[in-house]
């Protein structure tokens, strides 16, 4: 079974802090994704990566950056946290090799910015 692990289930930070959210997958997947999920808005893609050191902006990248130094790890960075970044953050991964496969999700990090 694919395992996507997000380092924190709950996180409370202050406005202006630099925040790191970590995600690790154990299936050697090429593609990894960061979403945020808000009531009434569904899942929205922030950034994704299709290989080490490769990244592409999703639909709402403003205020975020990402890092992928190793294949199994994809980090989301809030450069200067703001209250409107309070949300549930979900990481997902998928193989890039052949076929049409579903994304596998972690259990999320609920981030509160005070």
């Amino acid at each position: 079974d694919v395992k996507v692990t997000q380092s924190s289930r709950y996180l409370v930070k202050r406005t202006g802090e630099k925040v790191f959210l970590e995600c690790v997958q154990d299936m050697d997947h090429e593609n990894m994704f960061w979403y945020r999920q808000d009531p009434g808005l569904g899942l929205r893609l922030i950034y994704f990566s299709y290989d080490v050191k490769m990244k592409e902006k999703g639909d709402i990248p403003e205020g975020y950056s990402v890092s992928r130094e190793k294949k199994e790890r994809f980090s989301l960075i809030l450069e200067s946290a703001s209250t409107n970044q309070t949300s549930m953050y979900l990481c997902a991964s998928i193989t890039g090799q052949g076929g049409f496969k579903p994304q596998h999700f972690g259990d999320g990090t609920r981030l509160s910015i005070l």
């Binding site: 979900l90 049409f100 259990d107």
Partner: protein
């Protein structure tokens, strides 16, 4: 731009009362449609992939169907443990990478 609309937003059923959830989509060319289940405080869990109109997939009390414009998730004789939020997502042929576009979900509550 791909779009997904799910209805209703919320649905309350009595145990054993069958019903359907709707997912309407607009996509330039459909590569595939996914259904996920999400429990409170958890990430989405994959249920089904549908590729072409007319296709059907079943798992226990759930059956997913697909037309050219929408997908239905039919729930037959639901039980309280079927309570969850059900998410629909699409991938179009012109979408880069493995990006998905998600709907807002339907929150299902099944009362005993």
């Amino acid at each position: 731009e791909d779009q997904v609309t799910q209805s209703p937003e919320a649905l309350r059923l009595q145990e054993g009362e069958s019903s359907s959830l709707n997912c309407s989509y607009t996509v330039s060319g459909l590569r595939g449609l996914f259904w996920y289940r999400q429990d409170p405080g958890k990430g989405p869990e994959f249920l089904f992939t549908l590729y072409s109109a007319g296709e059907e997939k079943e798992k226990e009390r759930l059956k997913a169907t697909l037309t050219k414009k929408e997908s239905f998730l039919h729930i037959t004789a639901p039980k309280p443990e079927d309570s969850a939020t059900y998410l629909c997502a699409v991938q179009g042929v012109e979408t880069s990478g493995s990006r998905l576009t998600f709907g807002e979900g339907t929150q299902l509550t099944v009362n005993p």
